[in-house]
C-alpha cells in the first residue's frame, strides 16, 4: 500500500533516536519510497494528460480528488525520507562533536546490527552501516567542523560540556613510578610521597594503581 515503505522508514528513525550506535542504512526502503514518489508523479501526469493543460478541478471533482491524494502521498513520502536522513545525520554529527572515530564506531554498529537479525538486514557484502552518501557527508561535515573549531583553539570547542571540577588533585604514591612529565616539569614519584597535580596528567597512573587520589 502507498505509504508503507515511508512508514517503515520513520519507524527506523524513531528507533535510531534511542540507540547509541547507528544501525544499517535502509538502502532498499529508501529506494522503494523514492520509486513510489516517481510512480505517483507518473500517475498524476497520466490522469492529467487527457486535459492537455486545461484541467479545471471544480468541473472534475473526482479527478481533482485523486490528484490531490497522489500529491499528499508524495509529500508525505518526502517528509518521511527527510526525517529518516535527518535523524541519521544528527547522530553522525553528534559523533563528530564528541570526537568519536566514526569509522570505528560504525563497524561496531555493523556487527551489532547483523546480530539482531531484524527482517531488514542490509544487502550482503555491505560491511558499513553508512550509505556512501552518508560517508561523504560526514567527511565534509568533519572538515567543516575542524575549520570552525580552528577559530576557537583557545577554548577547545569540542572539549567537555561538564563544568570543570577538581582540575588539580592530591595524590599519594602507592608504588615507585619513576619520573613523570607534567606541565610544571618532571616529578619523581617515590612511594608514600604526596603531590598536588593536574588530574589529567596522572589519570593513567591512577588507573594503573601507581597513585591514589586523596579526597
Amino acid at each position: 500500500m502507498y505509504g508503507d515503505h515511508a512508514f517503515k522508514l520513520v519507524q527506523h528513525a524513531k528507533r535510531t533516536q534511542a540507540l547509541v550506535h547507528l544501525p544499517h542504512y535502509q538502502t532498499e526502503l529508501v529506494r522503494e519510497t523514492t520509486r513510489e514518489v516517481r510512480d505517483l508523479d507518473k500517475d498524476v501526469s497520466n490522469i492529467l494528460a487527457p486535459f492537455e493543460g486545461s484541467f479545471n478541478p471544480s468541473s472534475e471533482p473526482a479527478t481533482a480528488c485523486s490528484v490531490l491524494v497522489n500529491h499528499l502521498c508524495m509529500r508525505r513520502n518526502k517528509r518521511c525520507l527527510l526525517a529518516y536522513h535527518r535523524v541519521r545525520s544528527d547522530k553522525l554529527e553528534e559523533m563528530c562533536w564528541s570526537g568519536k572515530d566514526i569509522l570505528d564506531q560504525e563497524q561496531q554498529a555493523g556487527r551489532q546490527g547483523n546480530g539482531e537479525g531484524s527482517g531488514m538486514a542490509s544487502e550482503a557484502g555491505n560491511q558499513s552501516s553508512l550509505s556512501p552518501e552518508e560517508e561523504e557527508y560526514i567527511r565534509q561535515y568533519g572538515d567543516m567542523l575542524a575549520a570552525y573549531k580552528g577559530q576557537w583553539t583557545d577554548i577547545d570547542l569540542t572539549g567537555s560540556l561538564e563544568p570543570p571540577r577538581d582540575l588539580f588533585i592530591d595524590v599519594r604514591v602507592l608504588k615507585d613510578a619513576g619520573e613523570i612529565q607534567t606541565e610544571y616539569g618532571a616529578i619523581t614519584l617515590t612511594k608514600n610521597s604526596q603531590f598536588f597535580v593536574r588530574q589529567g596528567d596522572v589519570e593513567r597512573l591512577i588507573a594503573q594503581g601507581y597513585l591514589q587520589k586523596l579526597s
Binding site: E93, W97, L161, D170
Partner: protein
C-alpha cells in the same frame, strides 16, 4: 548535535554557577594579590578576613591554606527558625531581598559572606551549603545539625513545589518567589513540562474560543457574553 543537554542549567551547571558566590575566608598563609580573568584577587594576609569566590575558597581550603567563615544563615539557630517558618506557610519563606538601584543578581551578590543576613535563604542556599559541608565541615559549627536541618528544609520545600503544580492553570504565569537555584535545576523538567502541557491543552480551547468570537461578531452579537463565561470559570 552540538549540545546534548536539555534546555536550562543542569544541577552540575547550577553548582558551577554557585561557585561564583563570594564567601569569607581567614587565610592561614600569605598569598600575593592576583589578576584573574574575573577581576583582581586581593592579597591574603593571615588572619585578615577576605572575601573570595567560592571556587577559590574551596581550593585554598582543600590545600589547608585558609579556613572558611560560614555565612550566618548556615547555622542551626537560623536554619531552625527558617524551617519553622517554611512549615507554617504554603509558599517559600521570603528570600533574601535583592538590593535596590542595581540589576546585579545571584551569584554576584554578597549573600554567602560572613556579613550576609542570618534570617533568609539566598538563591544558592542548598548547593552552597552542601559544598561547604563537604569541603569545610570543620569550619561550620554543629555540622551534623546543619546537615539535618538542610535536609529537612529541602524536603519541606520540595513538597511545596509538588503541591504547587496541582493548582497550575494553563496560560497563566506561575509564581515561584523564593525558589532556590538547585531546586529550579531539579524541578525544571517537571514543572516546565506541566506548564507546556497545559498550554498545549489550552491551545485548542483558545483557538475554538477565538473562532466562536469571530462567528459571534459576524452574527452581530457583542463580546459581552464571553466575559460572563470567563467569570464563571
Amino acid at each position: 548535535m552540538a549540545l546534548p543537554l536539555p534546555p536550562g542549567l543542569t544541577p552540575p551547571e547550577t553548582a558551577f554557577l554557585c561557585e561564583m558566590e563570594m564567601v569569607t575566608v581567614i587565610p592561614r598563609q600569605r598569598l600575593e594579590g592576583l589578576e584573574l580573568l574575573g577581576g583582581p584577587i586581593p592579597p591574603l594576609n593571615p588572619p585578615y578576613r577576605t572575601p573570595l569566590p567560592l571556587w577559590l575558597a574551596l581550593l585554598l581550603k582543600r590545600q589547608r591554606r585558609a579556613n572558611v567563615l560560614p555565612p550566618p544563615w548556615l547555622s542551626p539557630p537560623s536554619l531552625h527558625s527558617i524551617l519553622d517558618f517554611e512549615k507554617s506557610t504554603p509558599s517559600f519563606s521570603p528570600p533574601l531581598p535583592l538590593p535596590p538601584h542595581t540589576t546585579t543578581s545571584p551569584p554576584f551578590l554578597p549573600s554567602a559572606t560572613a556579613n550576609a543576613p542570618p534570617d533568609a535563604l539566598p538563591y544558592h542556599w542548598l548547593e552552597l551549603g552542601e559544598m561547604l559541608l563537604e569541603a569545610a565541615s570543620d569550619d561550620i559549627p554543629e555540622p551534623d545539625n546543619v546537615r539535618r536541618l538542610m535536609r529537612d528544609l529541602r524536603e519541606v520545600r520540595m513538597a511545596k513545589m509538588r503541591a504547587g503544580v496541582g493548582v497550575l492553570e494553563g496560560g497563566r504565569e506561575v509564581n515561584m518567589n523564593g525558589v532556590g537555584g538547585m531546586e529550579v535545576a531539579e524541578g525544571r523538567a517537571f514543572i516546565g513540562g506541566v506548564v507546556d502541557g497545559l498550554r498545549k491543552i489550552g491551545a485548542s480551547k483558545e483557538m475554538s474560543r477565538r473562532e466562536r468570537e469571530a462567528e459571534e461578531r459576524e452574527n452581530g452579537i457583542g463580546g459581552g457574553e464571553d466575559d460572563e463565561d470567563d467569570m464563571e470559570i
